[in-house]
Amino acid sequence: MTKAAIEFKDVDYTANGIHILKRITGFFPKGKITTLVGPSGAGKSSLFKLCNGLQTANSGQIYINNKLIEQYAPTVLRRTVGIALQEATMINGSVEKNLALPLTLKGEKLHKELAIELLKVVGLKESYMSRNTQELSGGQRQKLSIARTLVNKPQVLLLDEITSYLTVYPSRTSKN
């Protein structure tokens, strides 16, 4: 099991009285792209939020790089397991401001070169940098959301519902 980036053992998750995840056991291997497929409402987003620590399972264990999720400080966990949330929410302002957000939260600045490179990685033109995010299309917002998550240099990258917007796209560990 040393090769697992994320491992689940009997994970159960209930929210507002709705049993969303039942006894999930399995793993996402390290260094690979894993695709998680399931019908709408199956619980994919919920499972991802458990891994990123936005929610906590009611029972069972989740290991990130063989370490129990509870042993990570929440902010460390969230930077280690990056997630591009399904909604691809943007904060008010420019593409650059959104891209810099993970660093702003740490009190750091985003270097121009890195910003340009990240945009290129996800297939956005450099000229978008100063655009307001409200002018972006759904797909462009998804791309920016991924680039933004990459700013934290996560060891595991979770991309939620990317395929509905994007054509095949290389990543680190898993996506819907």
Binding site: N16, N52, G53, L54, Q55, T56, P74, T75, V76, R78, R79, G82, I83, L85, E87, T89, I91, N92, L101, P102, L105, K106, R148, T149, N152
Partner: protein, 254 residues
């Protein structure tokens, strides 16, 4: 003014009653209730105040202030869209503002430490603090609800709860305090403040009344800003747990 004069002033209650009847406005019942309630409540307050003033005992003043804080808390809790455990947060806020303003007023010898000053000023401070609290809480819970995704986004990127609520908190603090600040810009131009009018009618020198009114206005600036900020910083941690997860259910909706 005597009770006889007061009974004559009931004409001003009878006029709307007659108008309501003539034009079938259906306001008779509420008008009567309003008139009766204001007579009873204000007279009761008057007698209580008279008693407190005559007693010249600090215990009664403190009791009176606690009563005001209790009533303000009760009202703000009912009318402000709520957050878990809001009661004690309101009490702490009102207590803090009362102590802050009175220690400045009394400590710097701005007003004398008598019931005649302490109680009415406290009433205005606590009353305004209550209104501000209601404004702030309604706005803050609304902001938190509409911006859940933003809160979640910031947390998901490794932000702290404080960072995740920052925009919502600042927006709500500003939105709730702006009316107080704005209303002071036009004060006196259209309407004389009620307290000042009262003092002038009671025979005070208009300039003295104005100076006193200014003191109250400045007090209310402190009250407004302090109330919103304090309630905000006391409230937002309740919306998260130890694992820095946002608790939707802690926003209690009517």
């Amino acid at each position: 003014m005597s009770y006889l004069t007061l009974s004559i002033t009931l004409i001003f209650v009878i006029i709307p009653l007659i108008l309501s009847k003539t034009f079938k406005l259906g306001l008779e019942r509420d008008t009567i209730i309003a008139a009766v309630r204001s007579i009873i409540q204000l007279l009761a307050v008057g007698y209580v105040l008279q008693f407190v003033f005559n007693a010249e005992n600090a215990v009664y003043i403190v009791l009176m202030l606690l009563l005001m804080i209790g009533a303000a808390t009760q009202n703000a809790r009912k009318k402000g869209a709520s957050i878990k455990g809001i009661t004690w947060k309101l009490i702490v806020t009102f207590l803090f503002i009362e102590i802050l303003t009175q220690s400045i007023l009394l400590g710097l010898d701005i007003t004398p430490p008598t019931a005649q000053y302490v109680i009415p000023i406290s009433g205005m401070v606590i009353g305004n603090s209550m209104v501000l609290g209601i404004l702030f809480l309604n706005r803050f819970t609304a902001e938190m609800e509409t911006r859940q995704n933003q809160t979640e986004l910031i947390l998901s990127l490794g932000g702290t709860p404080k960072q995740a609520v920052h925009t919502q908190l600042i927006t709500s603090i500003k939105a709730s305090t702006i009316p107080t600040i704005e209303s002071q810009k036009t004060i006196g131009l259209v309407q004389l403040p009620g307290m000042m009018s009262g003092q002038i009618i009671a025979g005070a020198d208009p300039v003295q009344a104005v100076l006193f009114q200014l003191l109250i206005l400045f007090l209310l600036l402190t009250t407004a800003v302090t109330t919103s900020i304090m309630l905000g910083y006391l409230s937002y941690p309740t919306l998260f747990n130890q694992r820095m997860q946002f608790l939707r259910e802690s926003l209690i909706r009517e």
